[in-house]
Assembly symmetry: C2
Amino acid sequence: MRRSKQATAESRQAILDVASRLFREHGFDGVGIADVMAACGMTHGGFYRHFTSKEALAAAAIAHAFQEKVDLLQAEGRMGPRDAVRVYIGDYLSRGHLAQPQLGCPIATLGSQAAHAGPSIAQVFSAGTEQLINMLSAAFGDEGPDARPSALRLLSTLVGALVMARAAGSSDLQDEILNAMRADPLVRGFTALPPQA
Amino acid sequence: MRRSKQATAESRQAILDVASRLFREHGFDGVGIADVMAACGMTHGGFYRHFTSKEALAAAAIAHAFQEKVDLLQAEGRMGPRDAVRVYIGDYLSRGHLAQPQLGCPIATLGSQAAHAGPSIAQVFSAGTEQLINMLSAAFGDEGPDARPSALRLLSTLVGALVMARAAGSSDLQDEILNAMRADPLVRGFTALPPQA
DNA sequence: TGTACATCAGTGAACGCGCGTTCACTGATGTAC
DNA sequence: TGTACATCAGTGAACGCGCGTTCACTGATGTAC
């Protein structure tokens, strides 16, 4: 039966939220339309009232995941860009992030699938990655022309740590990797120094 | 018709080689048994004379990819471990590596799928990652207890650079990422210093 | 404000395709004598 | 060494299942009067 405009908007939002989590947890091919809809308490048929295809959903869901991260950085940015990045790093290199890919960085979970998953998805990854880099660059503003390379190095380091830790599997090796990365000079520059330093 | 023992062994090897490349290029779900066999000039039916399932093939193919990398490091290691790692880094942070995932690092291409692809595949990733780390650690031998953390940091940095560059998509951003990583202190420590330094 | 009709979100069956796996068959290879 | 038979690598049709997508239908919502 027809639903109210608000109910419809809530359905769409629920589909996006759930898809964004499930795709990060199981990969694009590990999640079906029926899975997403069931997790929203609906059946699969109604899906196409909200999105034209699975690829369109995936693109929107990944954009949504990037936006979450950018919003978080922006919200934390009110205490100064360096503090925001400090919190970001702390969350990134945590056991919680390892254990909860569905809430974590979309680059680490799905980045390597970006190229295979269709042009619209590749586009979303490209734009999202660029945006994250720009926000992190701001935190290195005092480094002048080196700000952007520093941001690139930081993000690469974080992404690599997570991908490698997940590939490693063993809990001991995961801890070893996280600890080694926390001791990285670029990371320590943020987490060890006082704010605004 | 029945084939000679040698021909059979060659078939198995061809399937492994081809699968190892195709999986890295298109992901586990992007490659079918029929694709692999066709690339070997055969039809899909004969596959099960060589492997019990697609997952068994994937596990063997990834192990094969890791072994290639380890053998390469070992071969180059004859000029000293630091030189071997220098070459490894140079190849890793190259445009060629970006453009040819099918010949590249299996962690960067498939690492984030390791957990979804079945226990035997997760096991292969775990063992392969550990082995790579051990070989890289050797190159940091003169750092004593810091050797292993340094190796972890180096590999994370490399993996992250590739994943991020592939997610970024844009050619300009990819170059920027590769260049930034080449300027990373840990990387420069290898590529800028003379051998055995 | 109340009424009649059009719209459309969601349901569940059905379609079609791809893909992993199985199987009967072929004929060259390997082996027992 | 030669012969007869068993083995088995590879073929191609077929099976079965999952999944993306479509569709006729329902009934509450939105809207025109």
